[in-house]
């Protein structure tokens, strides 16, 4: 593990057993998160962006199987295969989850229990992970509510989730995630359910708090605008693979992978003059039968014969910028279009 890496994942694969067969949701991905950085994970629904993070936290549904060479968090292995038996793994995860690693979920209304007061829900992680008394935990909860900008926290603590607006609920979720000053926060589309003005407030809050507490953030999203205004580094996922990774500037200014380029061509920048939208034709691959080669091959304009047969190797452009595409390989037969039949 490099010195300042807080999370290191190697060769992560996630399969789901379903009635239709095995869904290969994440296929052999590796990535790392450094202390204090904000990493964006971008992809369409079904690209494996949420599933890969849920599997790191050990939060997958029962039909999911996780295999990995290595999942290391804060110097400690949290790879289930390094534990003998489910119980010892779960015990470790329980001490990690909500403590040093926490999660902000997408929909604040389904995450919060409607029948329990905000105060009780907010003090729960504090009471679980520390030896504080109820009174001390409550004081900490008030502190957290103030931190995330909720006015009159003392009275608000005794209210129920329905008495809060969507933006306020999301602030409470963030307060819960921050309760133990975690080293890593995984935020799964934290602003998708919110309006733009509220989204701007919540994003600023996440940015400010991660700076203040030195927490690293993994931001799962499909919104490239959100990624650009928040993240230091970006992983682009497609069909269960990380197809490109780079700093924010590398991804937006010198994208390499045809999928990244395609994504950037089909979004609008409201500050720029009008350009034509260039959609990516077709739809994502069926992960029941993932393609043997590049997952993007069926939608790629520059697809070659080799793309259908073999997964492209990673090409390294800089310490931070890597992309998996055959076009970068000198051996590939360029200009032979695989779609021309």
């Amino acid at each position: 593990m490099e010195q300042n890496e807080i999370l290191k994942v190697n060769g992560l694969t996630v399969d789901f057993a379903t009635e239709q067969g095995t869904v290969h949701a994440v296929r052999d991905i590796s990535f790392a998160v450094r202390e204090g950085e904000i990493l964006g994970v971008v992809g369409e629904s079904g690209s494996g962006k949420s599933v890969s993070m849920y599997s790191v936290m050990g939060l997958l549904a029962d039909n999911g199987t996780v295999t990995a060479e290595k999942i290391e968090f804060d110097g400690q292995s949290i790879n289930a295969s390094d534990y003998d038996g489910k119980r010892s793994y779960e015990k470790t995860m329980q001490s990690v989850r909500g403590n040093t690693m926490s999660m902000i979920f997408q929909d604040p209304m389904t995450f919060l229990n409607p029948t329990i007061t905000i105060g009780k829900q907010l003090t729960e992680p504090i009471l679980n992970h520390t030896k504080l008394t109820k009174g001390q935990a409550r004081a900490r909860a008030v502190e957290l509510m103030t931190l995330v900008g909720i006015p009159s926290p003392e009275t608000r603590l005794d209210q129920y989730p329905f008495e809060f607006s969507g933006g306020m609920r999301q602030r409470i979720i963030i307060a819960m995630a921050l309760a133990m000053s975690p080293k890593l926060i995984i935020a799964d589309e934290p602003t998708t359910a919110l309006d733009v003005t509220i989204q701007a407030q919540v994003l600023d809050l996440i940015k400010e708090l991660s700076k203040k507490m030195g927490s690293a953030v993994i931001m799962i999203t499909h919104d490239l605008g959100v990624v650009a205004s928040l993240c230091d580094r970006i992983n682009i996922m497609y069909g269960g693979k990380i197809v490109e990774t780079g700093t924010d500037k590398e991804i937006f200014y010198t994208p390499n992978h045809p999928y990244t380029k395609g994504l950037l061509a089909c979004i609008k920048n409201p500050e720029e003059n009008d350009k034509d939208l260039v959609p990516i034709p077709g739809s994502p691959p069926d992960l029941l039968k993932p393609p043997a080669g590049c997952p993007f091959v069926d939608r790629c304009e520059s697809a070659m014969k080799i793309c259908k047969l073999k997964m492209p190797p990673e090409t390294v452009f800089s310490d931070t910028h890597k992309s998996a595409c055959w076009l970068n390989d000198a051996r590939a037969e360029k200009g032979v279009n695989a779609h021309a039949r």
């Binding site: 369409e44 629904s45 607006s165 969507g166 933006g167 306020m168 309006d195 733009v196 003005t197 509220i198 989204q199 701007a200 407030q201 994003l203 600023d204 499909h222 919104d223 490239l224 605008g225 959100v226 990624v227 650009a228 205004s229 928040l230 924010d248 500037k249 991804i251 937006f252 200014y253 395609g262 994504l263 950037l264 061509a265 089909c266 979004i267 609008k268 920048n269 409201p270 500050e271 009008d274 939208l277 260039v278 959609p279 990516i280 034709p281 739809s283 994502p284 939608r299």
Partner: protein, 333 residues
């Protein structure tokens, strides 16, 4: 951006439209009303896309639904091709519905899972009895499927066999079945993935160019609305606060709420996106049951004056722009 708007041909004219809902809790409780749409007026021309933006709860969907009369208007008029439909009912309403169609947000919920694609697209044709034989209908369905980029042999398949983007194409084919003059698109792309959104937007534009249809495009994704719309209206708490050419409103918003709303849009550029100055709004959206007196935005407006609480600002013209704000009024007088 689609061209050929016919400015002297008004397809839809909404005048002082109000939609109120009763929100009284309990039998003897004090009567309460939600003013979901409160005195809204605008016109849409032939071949034009009119964007309607605003945050959740501002009444934009209620307005769309009132225009197709899913909700009954409380007051005001809705003129389609010069005829007021606000008060009509029964068969007369049915014949007008042919001209106005509606694309819903969620293509998973708006298509009946037990009907084939053919049955879904034929349903409006049958209701309005526009074709006599099954063959004529089949021919029309095949043609429509080609128009929206699907294959004619998809006709016997069921919705679950299609992806989200394809389902939205099916619902677009259904709205086109009756040759409408006007389509209300209520967040038609927000349930779709980014790469698929652009496909649907381009399809809607292509259909508009070919058939001269007008759209009322309701959305909260401001960048896409700017791309597709000729003019846009910004709604806040049941009222339109600013209306103008979409490019002008985006580059130079005049109403303080439009300014805050547009400054909050994340920019997909790592340098500009991180530097962008945002106008942070204080407080929360007031309840439409008990809206503020005077200007609806005054409780969160950084420029609120005494006058804003006393009376409600009216829409005034500034060049091609209409804005309802006393501050703008004072600055331009």
């Amino acid at each position: 951006m689609p061209a050929n708007i016919v400015k002297d041909e008004v397809v839809l004219k909404v005048d002082h439209l109000k939609t109120y809902f009763d929100a009284t809790k309990g039998l003897f409780a004090k009567k309460q009303t939600v003013k979901a749409v409160d005195d809204v007026s605008f016109e849409i021309y032939k071949g034009e896309t009119f964007g309607l933006v605003g945050e959740s709860g501002c009444g934009k969907s209620t307005l769309g639904r009132t225009i197709v009369k899913i909700y009954e208007p409380t007051a005001g008029s809705i003129e389609i091709n010069g005829r007021d439909i606000a008060g009509i009912k029964g068969d007369e309403l049915k014949s007008f519905r042919k001209d106005i169609q509606y694309i819903f947000q969620d293509p998973y919920a708006s298509l009946d899972p037990r009907m084939t694609v053919g049955e879904i697209i034929k349903e409006p044709m049958k209701i309005h009895g526009i074709y006599k034989t099954e063959e004529e209908m089949d021919a029309r369905v095949s043609q429509l499927l080609r128009t929206v980029g699907l294959k004619p042999d998809h006709i016997r398949r069921y919705p679950h066999e299609f992806s989200g983007g394809q389902r939205q194409r099916i619902s677009i084919a259904r709205t086109l079945a009756l040759d409408p003059k006007f389509i209300i698109c209520d967040e038609p792309i927000s349930a779709l993935d980014v790469s698929i959104q652009a496909q649907i937007i381009n399809l809607l534009e292509q259909i508009q160019r070919e058939l001269d249809i007008s759209y009322l495009f309701i959305a909260h994704d401001l960048s896409m609305v700017k791309h597709i719309s000729h003019r846009i209206a910004v709604m806040y708490l049941g009222q339109i606060v600013e209306l103008g050419e979409s490019h002008e409103v985006y580059t130079n918003p005049m109403h303080p709420y439009s300014q805050a709303l547009l400054s909050a849009v994340p920019v997909p550029d790592p340098v500009k996106g991180k530097e962008k100055e945002r106008i942070m709004l204080q407080g929360e959206l007031p309840s439409p049951i008990d809206p503020p007196s005077g200007c609806p935005f005054r409780t969160r407006c950084p420029y609120a004056m005494e006058r804003c609480a006393g009376e409600r600002p009216q829409m005034k013209m500034y060049g091609s722009r209409q804005v309802a704000c006393f501050k703008v009024e004072e600055e331009n007088s």
